[in-house]
């Protein structure tokens, strides 16, 4: 029993304590040394200070301060067994710090070696979020930051996050066509497919129509952000010809006649008619936001 305790004690206390107390074997022949082989010394012959890693509480629950190795064990790495990374139990072989050395790459190597750009040691779940997307060719501005990834990245198979193109129309073709039913028939009007010339990424509503400003300035000013059909009674067959005449603009839908008549009592020849409004009030870049004046 005492020998067993001594053996355990020497394991715990290290080589300095491994020697038997002086005189212990006096008067008798000491037993032959215990057979030591690689089989019984799995970590090689160099170091028998078992207590550096093992304890008497459990042989398998190993504690080792890995920080000094240059690869601190953080997150899930702290929970894996030594043999998951170290091929040999003598810990002599270098273990590469490259992720791909241990982890199977679900991206088939297509996204490079810098896994830490998107992942961390806590979880394989990606940390790549809408803010990080600004470092691609498609910054997620407006509503684009608020939709599920798969609405754009339809290819689920290879996890390479390909996207055919970053051109708006590539994704919004249906919206371009659908506009005919809710506002202006973009095809009939001859609008181009450069969506961002008129719309911003937060909303298709309040589209900016630069050509409109040449006839009647919308933005900036009190008319900024209003929908086309708030003013125009109909835009069926409308064509963006630059002629400044659709004969569909209805000022009086918002600027009610009783109010306007009262406000224009001093204006001779005033008539509460849409065409008449426009004869005096021209919100063009030159006239800016100044009130209408008699011509």
């Amino acid at each position: 029993m005492r020998i067993a305790l001594l053996v355990i004690g020497s394991l715990v206390a290290g080589p300095a304590a491994a020697a038997a107390p002086a005189g212990f074997w006096q008067g008798s022949t000491p037993p032959p040394p215990l057979p030591v082989s690689r089989q019984t010394m799995p970590h090689g012959m160099g170091d028998t200070r078992c207590s550096v890693c093992h304890s008497t509480a459990s042989w398998t629950k190993v504690t080792f301060d890995h920080d000094g190795t240059g690869f601190p064990l953080r997150g899930r790495h702290a929970a894996v067994t030594c043999s998951s990374c170290h091929a040999s139990s003598d810990f002599r072989g270098a273990v590469p710090t490259s992720c791909a050395a241990c982890h199977k790459d679900v991206h088939s190597g297509e996204l490079g070696m810098q896994c830490a750009s998107c992942h961390d040691a806590e979880s394989w779940r990606s940390r790549f979020d809408a803010d990080a997307h600004r470092r691609t060719n498609f910054p997620l501005i407006g509503r684009h930051a608020l939709i599920p990834c798969e609405e754009c990245h339809l290819d689920q198979r290879d996890r390479q996050f390909t996207r055919a193109t970053v051109e708006c129309f590539a994704c919004h073709r249906a919206d371009y066509l659908r506009a005919a039913t809710i506002s202006i028939d973009h095809v009939a009007a001859g609008f181009g497919t450069g969506c961002r010339d008129c719309h911003n990424p937060w909303s298709f509503r309040g589209g900016r129509f630069p050509a409109h400003d040449a006839c009647f300035q919308l933005a900036p000013g009190p008319h900024a952000g209003i929908a086309c059909l708030d003013c125009h009674t109909a835009l069926v067959g409308f064509g963006a010809t630059g002629a400044c005449s659709t004969n569909t603009a209805s000022c009086t839908r918002c600027h009610f006649c009783p109010t306007m008549q009262q406000r224009h009592q001093q204006v001779s020849g005033f008539q509460c008619k849409d065409r008449k409004c426009y004869e005096c009030h021209q919100f063009t870049p030159a006239a800016a936001l100044r009130p209408g004046r008699l011509r």
Partner: protein, 547 residues
Amino acid sequence: MRAKRLAMQLAATAALASVSGLRAAPRRTGGRVEYATAQRLYLDAGARDGLEVGSTLQLRRGDKPVSSCRVEAVSERRATCIGAGNSGDTFVLSLAAPLVIPEPERSAPPLPEAEVVRRRRVLEAAAHEKVDYHGAPAFTVLSGRTEVRLAHATWAEQTVGPWRQERLDVAIRGMPLGGGFALYADLSARRWSQRSGPIVARPDAPAQLYVWEAELARRPAEGGLALALGRVRPWSAPGSSIIDGGQAGWRTRSNVEFGLFGGGVPDPATLAPSFERRTTGAYFAVQSTGDVDSVVRYVRQETRVAYTDSPEGGKRLEAEALAQISLGRVLDLGAQARVAHGDREPADSLDAASVDVGFRPFDRLSLLGGFRYRGLSVPERDGPGAVLSGGAARHADVTASWEVASWLTLSGVSGLAKDLTTGISHRFAGPELGLPRLFGDLGGASFGYVAEDGWSSGRNAWVQLLTRRPRWLQVLLRVSWFQTDSLGAPTQDELGAYASISAQLGPFAALRVSALGRAGGLPGVRPLGGTGALLGGTLDASLAGRF
């Protein structure tokens, strides 16, 4: 007489000094962990030093608090404590009055010498066997290689939405099944409980199942037959799609593997099994790890030659190679290239090429860079009936990081991305200042600014806080400002906020909740600025268990 009185005074002074010295005997103010096991710490202080069973000690390593432990048992000068720590950790002793230690019981008289000699001889003559530990085989289902995650996500915006999704993700990474075979699986079952607005991705399928991997495989580390069957993500075959089929190869002791693979390629949008697309080919891979003293610490080389047939790409012969090498801790290099010859292409084409470099000339300085070229025009289904073609692009970025001190890091990032189909590009560059110990052990902060140019020019800046205390809890908060001035002028501003909380709930469970909010508006309207301001956000919560 005077000399005698002086001598008496000196004696009295000395006596008083000795008494006061006894009263102010230097009490220990701190103790030390002498020995540590996985759960228990052995302390060099005991009841005489004021330790009591059940009290909590804060352990420090150097100047840093590392953990705490609860005193389990106390003897006069020693104690044990339940908790995690290392030998050499220190703790502060309470200044409360030490316990009154009763007189120890009188020990038994020593054994007669003859009896000692007799017992010694019995021990010497006793046969004993060396203890050899053999761990009990672990129950394979609880191998720690299975992860199950239950998640909920919401996307909402003021005018459209919300979208809600519940998701169950399962990942099994080599659960041993016997006979050298292990199970690998990677799947996700998703249910859209709510969707609104125009839906692009599988609008007719509110319940979706994606299986990326479900294979039985054996890849013996000591060499031999490597085999995988099922829905396989081919190992060591760079650029290969997942296949419904098999992979068979031979693996040598020196980590060389070569073999064949083949099968049907699942539908890209649904991952449904299909032989409409198929591939077959061969692969060759070498992986080598150097000694700790060697210059070449790691080499990985993989090659794939395959024949593919698909409605999108036609019949093609592809060759792809990947190489990675680590030289010491200084340099990591990686390169990959794929060339192909197809029946729809007049000549051989370079489908893809990439280079990655990680350079650390000093411990505190690192340079990371990458270049990626995609030359293949990718047909991609964009909802029912809509197929897009394009995708040729190139991207390059570089990040330089200098750890000036343990509390200060300076970084710079720059990049370029260009869509080769349309020619539109996006460039960005900016600095980042990191103060990782701004709040001491609690955590730190970072500040960044990026200027952007190209089709979506503008700028953005952010402040980010990251805390890691207690150790099982990580909280990340970020506030961002974005300004874009080339999308249908006038300039647009957006404010963003992001919060992420990750909690390790014991050894087997983890919780993560993240939320993102954005405020922007119609052209010319400032975020949160009244009429025309728009708000939106996302919420993602998941509970993961590991078995």
